[in-house]
Symmetry: C2
Subunit: 466 residues, 2 copies
């Protein structure tokens, strides 16, 4: 079962193949370097070649060929993920879906498209067609693909209203190609969707996507300032609980995140300013301003439709979700982050507890999220990194307090998730990837079913660093 890379490449000359070392290196990486832990382990990872299929037929050809020659295939979109999920740990083929950008059908409340289209381009198409847009998108909207978002993401801008990608109704249908001697093409709906959504392409390649749409509005983007951190948290939560105010984003930044890391915001805030970033539908602005008028603790310091700042801060959502970490990292390279779920009804108490215990080593960055019909918070806390041991200790402190951690310093599905095997994904991998060639090293349950999760998993076949 030794991969025959040369034979695979030789069989695919009519496809868009990339074999220059610089290109291969670039396309073998994602934003894993947000994590010093992953940076230390994956920096050298590199594929043998990159192929960019132009159609589902070419995807099938790549998978059939690589199957025949035992070559691993790691599929990627724009590579904006943060967990090394698009990195070819065992080398082989990186399949880049950048040519598969077709929008096949748009109707009321839905769109059918190919996986490689950028979120931004998809929104442009649906907005032009009928004033519609995606319910949710990652903060990498301008550069990330819809396929990557579904295969490697969990939610984002819009999740304050619509919940997460895994929630019923937030993906309608996925078409998936298997990696077998003769690849099959399967249409998944309903209970079948979790087999391949957020599976990092470990058990099938998504070639067509049907997503629900929401109306597109010229969202009013705003920053609201509060002197007290928990006032800012309550402001965001209470606003999200206003059923008549339509909202696309609610982000809370503990001080001094805004002053220290948001260059264009900094001149307008103080070091002790806690900031709330918002996107509100224009026809909800009367309601929002009424709500704001009741909160003397909150000051509206910026709205994009009445901007008097000499330098525009750009889209407010590009301060939220994982862009917060990116902005902090650019100023202070020692910053990394955690992903926390503060569940209902203890969410505010948990946040306050963690903030009291860990600030400023850990600064709270919270995203309003709906889960099971309730407003809660996801934390993408900024962490001043010192050692891996201290990072693990901080993780444990959260878990001991009852705040669930989705560890972004791990490259496996299980460790980045709930630390348990997803049986649906594993069972489908057995069926769809019998040789275990799809994105190897990312599903512990496949490689080491008895793994105990007592330490960080290390994929045995991970390429050796030179």
């Amino acid at each position: 079962m030794k991969p025959n890379v040369a034979a695979a490449k030789a069989a695919l000359p009519h496809l868009d193949l990339d074999t220059s070392e610089a290109a291969i290196r670039a396309k073998s990486r994602d934003f894993f370097w947000y994590s010093p832990v992953l940076k230390a382990r994956l920096d050298h990872v590199m594929a043998d070649f990159v192929v960019s299929p132009r159609s589902e037929a070419e995807v099938i050809e790549v998978l059939r060929t690589c199957y025949a020659h035992d070559v691993p295939v790691t599929t990627r979109g724009a590579g904006t993920g943060n967990y090394g999920q698009a990195m070819p740990l065992a080398g082989g083929c990186v399949m880049h879906l950048r040519h598969m950008t077709g929008v096949k059908e748009i109707g009321p409340g839905r769109v059918i498209c190919e996986p490689g289209i950028l979120l931004k381009d998809l929104d442009t198409a649906t907005k032009a067609h009928s004033g519609q847009e995606l319910r949710m998108f990652s903060s990498t909207w301008a550069t990330a693909t819809i396929g990557g978002f579904i295969a490697g993401g969990s939610g984002g801008v819009g999740s304050c209203t619509w919940g997460s990608l895994r929630d019923l109704g937030n993906i309608i249908r996925l078409r998936v190609v298997t990696m077998e001697a003769e690849p099959r093409v399967l249409d998944f709906r309903g209970e079948e969707l979790p087999r391949v959504s957020h599976a990092y392409g470990t058990n099938g390649i998504i070639t067509e996507i049907e997503m629900p749409l929401a109306p597109a509005y010229d969202w009013v983007e705003m920053f609201v300032a509060c002197d007290d951190f928990m006032d800012a948290v309550r402001f965001a939560e209470d606003l999200a609980n206003q059923d008549g105010i339509l909202m696309k984003l609610g982000t809370v930044f503990e001080a001094p995140i805004a002053k220290d890391y948001f260059q264009r915001v900094a001149p307008h805030v103080e070091p002790d300013t806690n900031l709330v970033g918002l996107m509100i539908a224009p026809h909800s602005m009367e309601g929002f301003l009424t709500f704001l008028g009741r909160r003397s603790e909150a000051r509206l310091i910026y709205r994009n439709d009445e901007d008097d700042w000499p330098r525009s801060p750009g889209p407010v959502f590009e301060y939220g979700w994982n862009h917060t970490t990116l902005r902090a990292l650019k100023v202070d390279p020692s910053i990394t982050y955690l992903q926390v779920r503060y569940g209902f009804p203890e969410h505010k108490a948990l946040i306050e507890k963690m903030q009291t215990a860990l600030s400023p080593e850990v600064l709270q960055h919270l995203e309003v999220l709906r889960e099971g019909g309730r407003v809660i918070f996801a934390g993408l806390s900024l962490v001043k990194f010192t050692t891996e041991e201290r990072l693990d200790e901080i993780v444990r402190m959260h878990e001991d307090a009852g705040a669930m951690i989705f560890n972004p310093h791990r490259y496996t599905l299980e460790e980045g998730g709930r630390q348990t095997v997803d049986d649906r994904q594993l069972r489908f991998k057995r069926e769809a990837d019998p040789k275990g060639l799809l994105n190897p090293g990312k599903m512990i349950a496949w490689d080491d079913p008895d793994w105990s999760y007592d330490r960080m998993y290390a994929y045995p076949k991970l390429q050796a660093a030179e």
Copy 2:
């Protein structure tokens, strides 16, 4: 201050005046007869004349003229309210807004219109213009006006997602004409809106309305059957808590409501069938069917897009909200109803307690409602009426258990609400209706500030029955 009706009529001959006794009698009534208590007290109520202004200018003329001659003015739309709110308790003028049906402007997420347009016609206009519709409407959508809904209603179909009319953002702006020597025209937004929304026209006349819109979809209307009542309640609640499934209606009918009162549904259900009525967005149907597949206790017995019933049941929302009462009344004239709020987080326990204590004398009819971001239930319970004393006792049982009652057997704002003076409405009435001529007898705080609410209020100037 004796009304000079003859002088007022004589001053308005160029307007659309209705002076035939039959017409005046018909237009002096609403659906107050749902309540045997109101039926006994208001059946004889009759205006002296009816005027139907064609424009805001004519509304002003009517108000100015009636003010000059001390003639009471009770304003109405279609008269589909249930609390006698559009009935002229002291006679005088009924101002009917049926000619004021203009749609002035439609934009993304909003519409500006006149108050007399039917909800149905407004939805037709916004749907044709840009695929939009009202966020919420009463079950009398086909016959009721938007102005009547705002002045006399509180929520309805759509409130499972958007909350109630009083929630911030669910009304954008109201233009209001006062009743003074020289009527003023005022634009109300934000904190000013509660002055006149749900005020029965007691302190100003709404002449222009700006409402938020939601996308219009071809909602899939369904009935789901459960053998167990609380299973049906949980089904509706859990579905409404699915953030990714877009819903417009969730109604629960305790058995045997469906069998006994829903003629076209009866052949398809048993006496012990508890029914759930639903409207789900078409692009949420995959998610809905997945949810349904997890609930073995629930059977989908009807969907309007795959209808195999020999006789169509018609719109499912015309079984919900106050249409439930109407259908029951047609079969059993002794039926009346209550309006109950089962608040979070005790809502299900309260419902079960009331059902256990009072069924079948009181049958549970529940509407999924969002309040403060949480899914709760409004009860429009069907009551087998015996005596007023027993009805009062049933009301007390609910209140003692902690379920708030909005008594639909009362014609005043306070008794139908939270039994307290709404200071905003009272203060605005002092300013806008100094002579107290607008819809007299409906605001206790105006007539009798020291009223103790220990018994049903009886307006002293109520017309005497012949």
